[in-house]
């Protein structure tokens, strides 16, 4: 390539393809300062036109570049830089040049990457929970039975064992549960029922299933100092139920899986989404916001019934001591808002509540 700055003039080597037959011949493209473009083939052929009549393909990485002459004669070259100068001279596509600049500079790359990361993050953080909430509240609880039954069987075969408590003790806890859920029974269509099981590896714990079933373990019942503490725990779990946290978490996680599947095309993992729920519930627990919502529910309930709210913070601190010793997370004692923080909130709220009273 020869190239002079003052008067534009360059020679570009490449191949010529006519539009009639697939033959290939070498050729040179010469641009004169007058704007005249001459294409000379190695076989002596000559095409002449004005630079304004050329159609120059925008640049894309280092792929060979095409310059199309009138009559659809194509000149193809790997000399991308020379073609770039010619491209600018002919005033060709600002938009496509801009795209190429974006694709070849790291700062635009970084900007695009930032846009992707931020939008994915915002979708996950804000849009997905709102969508999951809308969907969760649109589904009548009676349709949630199937999910709950599946989770229940899965919990029973994988983690929990038959309760070892006395019948009278269990029926007292059942009465407590009825006390907690009686007020909401009229408003929702939930099938509230309490399942008492021996926790085994999950220890002192309680879970809420989407359709209204609440699981409580022998260990947690044993840990409680009085029935009011059990009522507080059950009210907390009922808070999860009526706010449909289980279904919301399942939906949110499904969206994440859906996105992953969409990106990777790995459809096979879809089947495992629903199956993963019990493990999800036990290993990760609910999000900070869900726990707060359930705490608030429990708190309001205790206040309404005139039960001292300190009962809930009492059992929470005892649970923390218990689980702190054995380690590991649990659903009632979610890892996200620390128990200390929750107890503090409680104290604050109950004090305010007392002031208001």
């Amino acid at each position: 390539m020869t190239f002079s700055k003052s008067t534009f003039h360059c020679n570009i080597e490449g191949n010529i393809y006519d539009s009639v037959v697939s033959g290939k011949k070498g050729g040179t493209l010469t641009v004169h300062e007058t704007g005249e473009v001459i294409l000379c083939g190695e076989d002596g052929s000559r095409s002449v036109c004005s630079s304004g009549d050329l159609r120059i393909e925008p640049r894309l990485g280092n792929t060979p570049r095409r310059i199309v002459f009138p009559e659809n004669i194509v000149f193809e070259t790997e000399d991308n830089d020379s073609v770039d100068s010619l491209y600018i001279l002919t005033g060709g596509g600002r938009f496509s040049s801009f795209i190429h600049i974006m694709e070849s500079r790291w700062r635009y790359f970084a900007a695009a990457l930032a846009v992707i990361v931020i939008s994915v993050f915002c979708t996950m953080k804000f849009a997905v929970p709102v969508m999951a909430k809308t969907v969760a509240f649109a589904i009548p609880p009676k349709y949630l039975k199937a999910i709950s039954v599946k989770v229940e069987t899965s919990l029973d075969s994988g983690f929990l064992e038959k309760s070892g408590l006395k019948k009278s003790k269990i029926s007292r806890v059942q009465n407590n549960f009825r006390f907690v859920t009686d007020t909401v029974k009229k408003s929702g269509n939930f099938d509230f029922r309490l399942i008492v099981r021996k926790g085994g590896i999950v220890g002192a714990n309680a879970f809420a299933l989407p359709d209204g079933a609440v699981v409580i373990t022998d260990e947690l019942i044993g840990l409680s100092g009085n029935e009011k503490e059990i009522i507080a725990v059950l009210a907390h779990e009922t808070g999860h139920v009526i706010n449909r946290h289980g279904l919301r978490m399942l939906l949110q996680d499904s969206v994440v899986s859906l996105l992953v599947m969409f990106v990777t095309g790995d459809v096979l993992s879809y089947a495992s989404v629903a199956a993963a729920f019990p493990a999800l519930l036990i290993n990760r627990g609910y999000s900070r916001d869900f726990e707060r919502e359930a705490d608030m529910y429990a708190l309001n309930f205790l206040k309404m019934k005139g039960i001292d709210q300190v009962n809930f913070s009492n059992i929470l601190s005892r649970l923390q001591k218990e689980h702190g010793a054995s380690g590991g997370g649990n659903s009632l004692l979610s890892t996200h808002p620390s128990t200390k923080e929750r107890i503090k909130n409680f104290m604050k709220y109950s004090k305010e509540g007392a002031d208001n009273l």
């Binding site: 191949n15 393809y17 006519d18 539009s19 009639v20 037959v21 697939s22 033959g23 290939k24 393909e57 894309l60 990485g61 280092n62 792929t63 060979p64 095409r66 659809n72 004669i73 194509v74 193809e76 795209i99 974006m102 694709e103 070849s104 790291w106 635009y108 790359f109 900007a111 695009a112 990457l113 846009v115 992707i116 939008s119 899965s154 075969s157 994988g158 992953v260 990106v263 990777t264 790995d266 096979l268 495992s272």
Partner: protein, 364 residues
Amino acid sequence: MSEMQEPVEAEVPGGGNTEEKNPFRFNGSAMEFFRIWIVNVGLSIMTLGIYSAWAKVRTRKYFYGNTVLEGTSFFYDANPVAILKGRIIAFLLITLYSIIMKFLPTFSLPMMMAVPVLLMVVYAVFLPWLVMKSLRFNMRSTSYRNIRFGFDGTWLDIFIYWVVMSAAGLFTFGLILPFSQYLQKKYLIEKTRFGKTSFSTDATAGYFYVCHIIAIVVAFFIMLFLLLITGIFTPLLAGLHLSPQTLILIYYPLFIFLSLIIYLFIKVSIFNYMIGHTTLGEKKFYSSQKTMDVVKIYFSNIFLVLLSAGLLIPWAMIRIYRYRVEHLSVSKSGSLDLFEAGEDEKISALGEEIGDFFEIDISL
């Protein structure tokens, strides 16, 4: 039976064959494409998806432009605006569909029954049209040495080979499926042309049956082997208190892994076979992919894409494409110089883009 031996020959890279070959080359780089891809995704998000039509053209342009045969690269020049129009129409169709489905429970009972049947009929009629449009558009948008490719398939043929034959597969317990697969692939090759010259193939259905039989036999023995292993180890594992769930958790990925290998074995063997039996004028084609190589690439791709939260997608795309291209070759004999251009025709992108939305993937 000669058709069964040829692909085996073709799998010996470079050696053993008297026929000299010119390989396809791929000049793309993962680094370069990585930037193009990121900008594509970023701009698509910022323009609420509008740029995705341009992104698609640029991606394909990049892959084709870096694919080189006998010193010339391929070229893709679809008009993004046409693709955008197709996408908008596809989007409207999907919206219409979801509105119909939303109001379905409010319809009278006969209507509720009729709508899904009606939709199935529409789909059966619509699908071949989409396939045809999509192939025409893609072929027409692809050129080599300034000669465009083309596809001449018709709606009726595609309807018979894809819809009717698949339905027939149900009634013959799948026995006819390898045969219909053969007819589909043969049809795709013979209706594709480079300029005026059509591709031709002398492939026969026998190989398709051989492949499927091998796959079934191998799958059977693997299952048998797994059962045996389970039988041996269950007493040993009894002390570990493994629940049935845990066992399923172990077997499920193993099962998927093995099914994917068998699927890829069929796919790769048939691809090699069909390519190896395709000619364009005097030029013969060869493909020498190996199942285990493809398996390795697939699994490492999936693993690394997941591990990188999707950032390695462009790298994975380049890797699998490079492997496919670099295992393709044409015979040295015969010339690529004498193919005449076909008549120029304009085709809308409509079919292709709607096809993309419904995830139609028709290829060899």
